[in-house]
Symmetry: C2
Subunit: 285 residues, 2 copies
Amino acid sequence: MGKESFWASDPNELLRVGKGFTLADIDPDSHAGYDGDKADGEKSLVEGAEILADQQEMLFANSRMGDDPRRVLLVLQAMDTAGKGGIVKHVMGAVDPQGVQLAAFKKPTAEELEHDFLWRIRKQVPEAGMIGVFDRSHYEDVLIGRVRELAPPEELERRYDAINEFERELVEDGTTVIKVMLHISADEQKERLAERLDRPDKHWKFNPGDIDERLLAPRYQEAYQIVFDRTATSDAPWYVIPANRKWYARLAVQHLLIDALEAMGLDWPKADYDVEEQKARLAAS
Amino acid sequence: MGKESFWASDPNELLRVGKGFTLADIDPDSHAGYDGDKADGEKSLVEGAEILADQQEMLFANSRMGDDPRRVLLVLQAMDTAGKGGIVKHVMGAVDPQGVQLAAFKKPTAEELEHDFLWRIRKQVPEAGMIGVFDRSHYEDVLIGRVRELAPPEELERRYDAINEFERELVEDGTTVIKVMLHISADEQKERLAERLDRPDKHWKFNPGDIDERLLAPRYQEAYQIVFDRTATSDAPWYVIPANRKWYARLAVQHLLIDALEAMGLDWPKADYDVEEQKARLAAS
């Protein structure tokens, strides 16, 4: 557990997908592990923001001086309106933009479809020192891919293994992989879509296709359950975050990131030059 | 001039490189156009942050619904320690990370050197709806390129014209190009480098090569003057920002961005679907 004192129990443990996990058992209204209310949560988020920014700067510093290969990859998956954008804005927004590598994966282009599904993903893997964020990811290829039958069953089967292999490679290269599914209820989604239709400043966030996807929600839940069953590994764990309360979801994801960084035991890197010698050179310049 | 009320006169006018501009005439200690002190400046920056974030969101919205091609490119050039990183962190850090496209140009790789100097630059041009930031840029190829004689004189000559042509293309594609040189004094730079050597948490930001570059400062000033003479166009103006006071430089760059966005006269895009029809579909879902 991290230095932040506001968690009653470690969300890392509470929210991690373990053996026998069932998505249907998760209450999207929950604020598991956090005793406070929304106002407390927003205050805690501000406190956590500073810790996260400091930790990331240290990670970055070590990549620049000392060739530390470590990095973090946050994978965000969710149904529409569940709050991926809010996580990027309110959690990642606190980190120096120079330390964040954001990749949003949309519907694949014709060129991307000519390659293996991991081709476009590999190009966006974060560099050393960075926190990478995938807004949607390779998991789309076994989520919408399964629900809309975009690939034959044997190809879908192959992909789970390919994903596990790919993520193991990432971990071996020094990447801490954190996979997050933001979980909202059907009613909460309905309210959020309604708000987008009610407010002219939100119209651009709505797409008629969002309702088509919504109608497929039960099949997406099944597809997510298979994803958890097949790809929740100790190398690259999944976390299911109750997300009906935006403040809680943001706080929980922030904590997972802080926890991952603190587990690295980071410190400022030692100078790879002679400090006194450089002071003398500078004084003479 | 923007909606922010704290500028005594428009920094856009004051700081723009015009005919007969001479870099040597600029006082790096100045806070031209802004009457307040550091505390005021920091408060103004917070106020401006909200305006900038809102404007950028509207730009982004129009790119997503309505295919508005417009975007902004901020080019940052400066000697070491002048505060490019601080601009990215404190000015761009206030904008939703989903709306910022940051590209840091380091020493070119072997592959990059095999191509024209604009090859790697073109790949990083911001997409519609984004604020792109170049932390160093194609101008390195006529700055360090000239000072360290990395290219023959005729190639350097060719590059100024190629840059003007490239930037004209960007503008024709809907890009507002804002080119900024952060200007610090030799003494201020010495202090900032000394701080990096004094503080173990800053050692990673120092490189012995920084002193080599510092010794060439007079030649860089000449190279910058030629850049201004050759590439300060009405399409893609240069601004020289006095940067001995970090708070002022940040405020001035923030203002240039706000001013560019406000000049677009942005509003929320109209829905490209029938809102009432979608409300009915949602209610039935």
